[in-house]
C-alpha cells in the first residue's frame, strides 16, 4: 500500500478542491439557510470510496473558509464535522451495495435527512449556544421550532443539488471507476 500514499493524498486533495471550486464559482446562491450549493451534489461520491469522506470534509472546510459569505467559525467547525458524519454514514450504509443507482439513492436520502438535520442543528447551535443564563429571559427561544424552521428552508435547495449531482455522478461512474 505504501507506494499508493501519494496517489491517495492527491486524489483526496483534488476532490476537496473540486468541491471548493464549484462552490466558489457559483457563489451568489450558495450560502445562508436558503441555499443552493451545487457542489453538495458531490456528496454522492462518498458512496463509492471512503477516501471521499475526508475529501468532502476538507472541501467544505476550504469552501467555507475562502468564501466571503459563510458564517465564519461555525461553518468551519460544524459544517465540516456535519459533512464528515453524513458522508461516513452514507459510506457505511452503501459499502455492500453494488448497484450505482441504489448507492446514489441511499446517499440522497441520508444527506437530505441526516445531513440537513445536522445543518439545521448547526444554525440553532450557532445562534443559541451560550453559557447558562447568558440570555436575559433564561429561555432559549423555542429550540425545536427554530430547528424546524431552518430544516424546512435548507432541504429544497439541497435536494435540487443532490438531483443534479446524482446525474453527474452517475454519468461519471460510467467513465471513471470511482471506487478505485
Amino acid at each position: 500500500m505504501k507506494q499508493n500514499r501519494a496517489r491517495e493524498i492527491t486524489l483526496t486533495a483534488i476532490v476537496a478542491a473540486i468541491y471548493a471550486a464549484i462552490t466558489l464559482s457559483m457563489m451568489p446562491i450558495a450560502f445562508g439557510p436558503v441555499q443552493l450549493r451545487l457542489s453538495e451534489g458531490l456528496n454522492h461520491l462518498s458512496a463509492f470510496n471512503k477516501r471521499y469522506i475526508l475529501a468532502l470534509g476538507l472541501g467544505v472546510f476550504i469552501a467555507n473558509f475562502l468564501s466571503p459569505t459563510s458564517l465564519g467559525w461555525v461553518d468551519w467547525v460544524f459544517g465540516t464535522l456535519g459533512t464528515v458524519i453524513m458522508t461516513a454514514v452514507t459510506y457505511w450504509l452503501t459499502r455492500r451495495v453494488t448497484n450505482t443507482i441504489i448507492k446514489i439513492l441511499i446517499s440522497t436520502i441520508v444527506v437530505s435527512t441526516l445531513g440537513m438535520a445536522i445543518l439545521a442543528a448547526e444554525f440553532v447551535l450557532a445562534f443559541n449556544l451560550s453559557v447558562h443564563n447568558a440570555f436575559p429571559s433564561g429561555s432559549n427561544g423555542g429550540l425545536v421550532a427554530q430547528w424546524w424552521a431552518y430544516y424546512v428552508t435548507v432541504v429544497p435547495g439541497e435536494l435540487a443539488s443532490l438531483i443534479v449531482g446524482a446525474v453527474v455522478i452517475f454519468a461519471l461512474s460510467k467513465i471513471v471507476d470511482l471506487a478505485k
Binding site: 493524498i9 483526496t12 483534488i14 473540486i18 472541501g59 427561544g141 454519468a171 461519471l172
Partner: protein, 266 residues
C-alpha cells in the same frame, strides 16, 4: 493561470498581518468562547471596542468588513425573526393571533445579532490578514497533539495545502470549459431551473475527468521526487512565535480580564 482572487486575504504590512497564524487562530477561538458568556449590554460594549481596536490595527478599509457582513444579512434577519417569535416570556409587547412579541424575545434577538456580527467581524479579521496556506500550516502545528490519537495530521495538512493550490486552478478550468461549451451554443444563464441544472452536467464531467488526471500526474511527480510519507517532509516556512505574538496574547488576556470584571462586577 488567470488571476482569479480566491479567499479574502489582502496582503499588507500591519501588525495583525505579521502575527503568527497560530496566534490569530487561538485569539479568534478565545474571543468566540468569551462571547458565549456575554449577556449584558456592557459586555457587548467591551467586546465591540476590542473588535474595533483590532480592525483599526489591520489597516484595512472598513468597507471590506461591512462587505463581509452583507452576505449573512438574510440569515441574520431570519434568525432575528425566529428569536422574536419563539422566545416567549413576559411582558408581551404585541399580540396578533398566535404570534406574541415579548420583551425577552426582542432582547434575545438583539443579543444574538450583536454576538454574531462581532464573531463574524473577528473571523473576517483573521481571513483578511492571513493567507490560506499559513492557516494550513498553523492548523497542522496546533493539531499536533492529535497525532497521539493516530489522527494523520501531517497528511491532512498536506492534502489541505494541495487542495488550496488547486482551487484557483480548477476555478479557471471551470471558466474555460464554460466558455468552450458556450462557444458551441450552450447557455448557462437562461431557461428554467431544470434547463439550467441540465446545463451543469456537461460542465462538471470534463472538469472531473481533467482534475482526476491532474491528481494522478501530481502523484507520479511526487513519487518521482522521492515522496515517502507526509510525516517526514521538511518545511519551507517554519512557524515561530515572535515578540508581537506575546504582545497579542497579553492584550487578549487583558481583554478577558476586563470582560469578566465587567460581566461579574457591573
Amino acid at each position: 493561470m488567470g488571476n482569479i482572487m480566491i479567499g479574502r486575504f489582502v496582503p499588507g504590512k500591519s501588525v495583525v498581518h505579521q502575527l503568527d497564524p497560530r496566534t490569530k487562530i487561538i485569539g479568534t477561538f478565545v474571543f468566540i468562547l468569551l462571547m458565549l458568556w456575554a449577556n449584558t449590554w456592557s459586555t457587548y460594549l467591551v467586546a465591540a471596542i476590542f473588535v474595533w481596536f483590532t480592525i483599526l490595527l489591520t489597516q484595512q478599509p472598513l468597507k471590506m468588513y461591512i462587505d463581509g457582513l452583507k452576505p449573512i444579512f438574510w440569515l441574520l434577519a431570519f434568525t432575528i425573526v425566529l428569536q422574536i417569535f419563539f422566545t416567549g416570556g413576559t411582558p408581551v409587547l404585541l399580540h396578533f393571533g398566535f404570534i406574541k412579541v415579548t420583551l425577552p424575545g426582542v432582547i434575545n434577538a438583539l443579543f444574538v445579532m450583536f454576538r454574531f456580527v462581532l464573531i463574524i467581524l473577528m473571523s473576517t479579521i483573521m481571513t483578511l490578514t492571513t493567507p490560506p496556506t499559513s492557516i494550513a500550516n498553523a492548523l497542522e502545528s496546533l493539531l499536533k497533539p492529535l497525532k497521539s490519537l493516530k489522527v494523520p495530521v501531517a497528511e491532512m495538512a498536506l492534502m489541505l495545502s494541495i487542495a488550496l493550490r488547486f482551487v484557483p486552478l480548477l476555478m479557471d478550468e471551470t471558466q474555460k470549459i464554460m466558455n468552450a461549451q458556450k462557444s458551441r451554443g450552450m447557455s448557462f444563464s437562461t431557461g428554467g431551473p431544470v434547463k439550467r441544472a441540465k446545463a451543469i452536467v456537461p460542465l462538471l464531467i470534463p472538469l472531473f475527468v481533467g482534475a482526476l488526471q491532474r491528481a494522478l500526474d501530481l502523484a507520479n511527480a511526487m513519487e518521482v521526487r522521492g515522496f515517502k510519507d507526509a510525516e517526514h517532509r521538511t518545511k519551507y516556512r517554519i512557524l515561530k512565535y515572535k515578540k508581537q505574538d506575546y504582545q497579542a496574547f497579553a492584550s487578549l488576556l487583558l481583554f478577558s480580564i476586563i470582560f469578566f470584571s465587567v460581566l461579574y462586577l457591573i
